[in-house]
């Protein structure tokens, strides 16, 4: 059965306490006379639930460790005195448990009576009506009267706290079960909540009794899900009422790939609740996936296709048929005039695997060339290169849960609490159990020093010296005899290892020789290397701080070398793990989006592989690589690349050296943009094909642990056309018919042509929830850990990693180094998150600067700063902080008018052309007005807005105004003040 419209699921079950650790022996017992066998370590409450016996409970939930405070789950156990709480009592062999006796009923009624006497009785108008465990329990215990009266001291007039953007806190309804406090500690690891006061006066408070918005709360929503009453409640539920149905789907924001229950009333999405059965997130989520879905129905969504002849003309709304015919004609025309290779396409890692697959197929089969690339070019392409070269597969080696077996975590150039929040929570849980942490980052990220987590080492390197660090660490391992020779001998190419060993042992790779370049003491580098090498289980996690450098690929090679040299691959708790940025980066790469390879990372020149595709697709395929994105732009400027089909990608904001990209886009004859919004790139487009949000699609996403999870349609496409169908119709119009009836047929084709996906189908996903590739005859339900017996390439390959400093160096003219990153509440270019309440958290991109650098320049916190590189100039507001080192600046790029990429340069990774976002030499100085580029940006935005105005009428409109205007106003105010 294909996944299709409205794959509804029932209510989420709650067995009361977490599943015990796997592997325990089974225990047999009887509950109310019913015999049951459960794993040892389970609670009596859980065993009862598994036997189908519901025991009343309030403070217990499957997501949290048992607490035993409400005394509602009391039971009687044969041979024991008293009435133990079943949530904190573990099963024992031969136990005979009674859950229903007159005495238990009386005790439970007494407990409920006390709760209800201090609880408002507005059930009928309460937002939780129908989804309130207190209400359910009052019913379950048969509460009929409350003897204490409601007049005594109570909490009923406590004011509501509405300060958090997405949920409300109504303390009058609180029963002080502390589920929220425990959720914030155990699931999220933020420790924002406490129970203050004692006895009757006890109450839940955020931080030092502050409003939620002012507290440490990061709005993950765990406490809201945990709360059994209406005390903590999603504002969307308060506004719209309880949902009626639920569909299991996958978050479309980051590479963690959390599984969610999309809960709806008819077609209206009321809330997104993390799915307890989700194997990547185990019922947890972050603010983006949980709450930031409003963009899907934002008024800026364009829902009708549009065309124009030139970017100086107004847009015209047209029907799908006309838009597709026009696109096909123009692309064909360009090929006739300029040659087959003068056009190409770009796939998006925000789209589903199926949508990506058809776009790369369209380019190779219908356009007849290999000019296809994906936005992973600008983030994780070095991961593909580096891990394929050393281990044989372009993907992370572990599942997320593996971190729970890790003794030492080496975290390089990644900021999981901001960028991969749900995985960060898991990591924090492991760290609070005693695992140790080494952070390699120019900036003091939160994990360096936060409540309950502190890094043993923070190697605060200068931007651009990653390879120096990894070489110094590996040198120490060899120099001090810490390598795992048995592992190397049995698992790796011995000759290559000898070459590498000789190279890495050279004095130039020693910590002593590199310390100055790195900016960290040699002794610290050596100590960190020892900690990693002697850990037992050591795991490396890394992010864009590794890849987005001119030596990004070398660094990935170096990371894999270090893991191989110390035997930290091929089992639980170890490995090499790229943390992927966007939701489907892994999938977009897997699907054959790179110009040199087919799906499953197989090079075009492999005649056997190519033959399979040619036979299946019924066309001749070009065996030579096409252009990468930056090559396309260069060729466009050179006048020989003329047309581009862009799937959900926004180069004009996200790619480096904005002015170069503007020039390239302006030089093309036909730019086709397929997106939800008229994004920055669409301002240069001639044809706009409106896309669908993840709520309107069937398909799959693949997360950073290679997990393929279903995306399910919860509402019909607002545009009237599925996104994969747009590509298929375009292809058909160009003479290469594609006639899939459903995305499941696209997946069947992927499985047929790609060995790693051979066993995959929608049936399997519906059955088991999600699958980690490789999924084939040898691993019918997927592969959580890779390289267990041997590496995918056979023997592991040690690749030498010479440290070649970037050409982007600080000079007298540009004495500072700028590096870039992201914040929790915003996502990438922010096109989605800026169109949600999330703007409350991050209204503008700020420039972080060390106090010493600020002082010499006369810059104060909050003032406007000009930033100039050899590529361009922009203006940002200063945030003076010692999170950054002297000489280093840091900013984010979530808002287009910040122009962060006006200053990043075209320098790129040597192997993959992944841009060097992380290092730009700049100068900074106080200013009073926006940069020339920003003036130009504004004029251009205003003009494009005018050109879109005619189609903006009627709701399905288009607005090009930046969605968050805080910054614009800010600039104006600053001008007025100066």
């Amino acid at each position: 059965m294909p996944m299709s419209l409205y794959y509804n699921v029932g209510a989420e079950s709650d067995l009361g306490t977490p599943a015990p650790d796997p592997g325990a022996a089974t225990v047999s017992l009887k509950i109310d006379g019913i015999p049951i066998a459960v794993p040892g370590g389970a609670s009596v409450l859980r065993a009862a639930a598994l036997a189908g016996v519901g025991v009343p409970k309030l403070c217990a939930t499957e997501d949290l460790a048992a607490f035993g405070s409400c005394r509602l789950c009391l039971v009687e156990i044969e041979g024991r005195k008293g009435y133990p709480a079943s949530c904190t009592t573990l099963v024992e062999a031969g136990m005979e448990v009674r859950t229903q006796t007159p005495r238990l009923a009386e005790l439970r009624r007494n407990v409920m009576e006390l709760y209800i006497s201090d609880h408002p009785l507005d059930c009928l108008t309460c937002s939780a009506n129908g989804d309130c465990e207190l209400q359910d329990m009052a019913g379950a215990v048969g509460l009929r009267e409350v003897r204490y009266g409601y007049e005594g001291a109570n909490h009923l007039d406590k004011p509501k706290d509405q300060s958090a953007p997405y949920f409300a806190f109504d303390p009058a309804k609180c029963i002080v079960c502390s589920r929220c406090v425990r959720a914030c500690e155990e699931q999220q690891g933020t420790y924002a909540l406490t129970i203050g006061g004692r006895g009757f006066a006890s109450e839940v408070m955020a931080s030092q009794n502050e409003p939620f918005a002012a507290s440490e709360c990061v709005s993950c929503g765990a406490c809201v899900k945990a709360c059994p009453t209406a005390t903590l409640m999603e504002k969307s539920v308060v506004a719209h009422g309880q949902p009626e149905r639920a569909v299991i789907t996958t978050c479309a924001y980051c590479g963690v790939g959390c599984s969610f229950r999309a809960e709806l009333q008819g077609d209206r999405l009321v809330r997104m609740v993390p799915d307890r059965n989700g194997k990547a997130n185990h019922g947890h989520s972050c603010v983006k996936g949980r709450f930031a879905f409003g963009y899907a129905t934002h008024k800026d969504r364009v829902t009708s296709p549009m065309i124009r002849d030139s970017i100086d003309q107004p847009w015209r709304k047209v029907g799908w048929a006309q838009a597709i015919d026009t696109a096909a004609q123009r692309l064909r025309g360009i090929q006739e005039r300029w040659g087959r290779k003068a056009i190409g396409g770009v796939t998006s890692s925000r789209c589903t695997n199926e949508e990506v697959y058809v776009v790369q197929k369209f380019v190779r089969a219908a356009l007849g060339n290999n000019n296809v690339d994906t936005c992973a070019r600008v983030c994780h392409s070095p991961t593909g290169y580096g891990l394929k070269t050393t281990l044989g597969e372009s993907a992370g080696t572990q599942n997320f849960d593996s971190v729970m077996q890790t003794d030492v975590i080496l975290l390089v150039g990644a900021n999981p609490t901001e960028a991969h929040p749900v995985f960060a929570s898991l990591m924090k849980r492991r760290l609070s159990q005693g695992a140790q942490l080494i952070v390699v980052d120019p900036r003091a990220i939160d994990l360096v020093d936060s409540p309950h987590v502190r890094a043993q080492f923070h190697l605060q390197l200068k931007p651009g010296t990653n390879v120096a660090v990894i070489n110094a660490l590996a040198h120490t391992v060899i120099d001090e005899g810490l390598e795992d020779e048995a592992f190397i001998r049995s698992r790796c190419e011995w000759d290559a290892y000898q070459t590498w060993r000789a190279f890495i042992s050279e004095p130039r790779n020693s910590p002593e020789a590199l310390a100055e370049a790195i900016g960290a003491p040699a002794a610290q580098l050596r100590a960190a290397a020892r900690l990693y090498a002697k850990a037992g289980n050591a795991a490396i996690y890394y992010g864009l701080g590794v890849t987005e450098h001119s030596q990004g690929s070398t660094m990935v090679l170096g990371i894999a070398n270090l893991a191989m040299a110390t035997g930290n691959l091929g089992r639980e708790g170890v490995g090499v793990n790229p943390l992927r940025g966007q939701n489907n980066v892994q999938g977009a790469c897997d699907m054959g989006s790179f110009p040199h390879e087919f799906s499953g990372y197989r090079h075009l020149s492999d005649a056997v592989v190519r033959g399979k595709f040619e036979a299946d697709w019924g066309v001749q395929l070009d065996p030579k690589p096409g252009y990468r994105i930056p090559n396309m732009f260069d060729a466009a400027i050179a006048g020989e690349f003329k047309g581009l089909y862009v799937q959900g990608e926004d180069f004009a904001q996200s790619d480096p050296d904005t002015q170069h990209i503007y020039a390239a886009l302006s030089a093309m004859e036909c730019v086709i943009v397929q997106d939800l919004f008229l994004n920055e790139t669409a301002k240069f487009a001639h044809i706009f094909l409106p896309g669908c949000s993840f709520l309107e699609k069937d398909g799959t996403f693949t997360n950073a642990e290679r997990r393929i999870s279903p995306v399910r349609k919860v509402m019909a496409p607002l545009t009237g056309l599925d996104e994969w169908r747009i590509t298929c119709r375009l292809s058909t119009a160009m003479g290469y018919p594609m006639d899939y009836r459903h995305p499941s047929e696209i997946m069947d084709e992927i499985a047929r042509l790609t060995p790693n996906f051979q066993g995959l189908s929608y049936e399997l996903l519906n059955e088991v929830g999600s699958v980690q590739w490789p999924c084939n005859a040898a691993a019918p339900e997927g592969t959580p850990l890779m390289h267990v017996q041997e590496f995918v390439r056979g023997k592991g390959y040690f690749a030498p990693t010479p440290y070649v400093p970037t050409e982007e160096r600080s000079t007298a003219r540009y004495p500072l180094l700028l590096t870039t990153g992201r914040v929790l509440s915003q996502y990438n270019v922010g096109a989605q998150t800026r169109r949600t309440e999330a703007v409350a958290y991050h209204r503008e991109d700020r420039l972080e600067m060390h106090p010493a650098d600020a002082e010499v320049r006369g810059i104060v916190d909050g003032s406007w700063v000009g930033v100039k590189s050899r590529a361009g100039e922009t203006v940002l507001r200063a945030k003076v902080t010692d999170r950054v080192q002297p000489g280093v600046l840091y900013t984010t790029f979530h808002h287009p008018e910040s122009g962060a990429n006006v200053i990043t340069t075209d320098n790129s990774d040597w192997a993959t052309n992944c841009p060097e976002y992380k290092v730009t030499a700049v100068q900074a100085y106080p200013v009073s007005k926006p940069s020339e580029w920003q003036e130009m940006f504004r004029r251009f935005a205003v003009k494009q807005e005018r050109l879109a105005a005619p189609v903006a009428a009627g709701g399905a409109g288009a607005s090009l105004a930046p969605a968050a205007t805080g910054r614009k106003e800010g600039l104006e105010t600053a001008k007025a003040e100066s």
């Binding site: 020149s605 990693t801 070649v804």
Partner: protein
């Protein structure tokens, strides 16, 4: 003309520098050629060869040695 020659040369020299873990140009040049053959569009290889025809002396020795190992330039 495809991608500007200056840019291609810069990229090719970066590839060469990052593969140059030894002074043995024979080893390095083979790796460089393999990389360019695997990952570059033939039009870019062709443009690099044309540039080298004019300005061979401005290229680093290992890159120069790699050029004859490039497969078919154009089509």
């Amino acid at each position: 003309m495809t991608v500007a020659a200056g840019k291609l040369v810069r990229m090719a020299e970066q590839i060469t520098a990052n593969l140059a873990h030894t002074d043995d140009y024979g080893i390095v040049s083979a790796k460089v050629a393999d990389h360019l053959n695997r990952f570059w569009d033939p039009r870019m290889r062709q443009a690099l060869l044309e540039y080298a025809g004019r300005e061979a002396n401005s290229l680093s020795p290992a890159l120069r040695m790699a050029l004859p190992q490039l497969r078919d330039g154009g089509e």
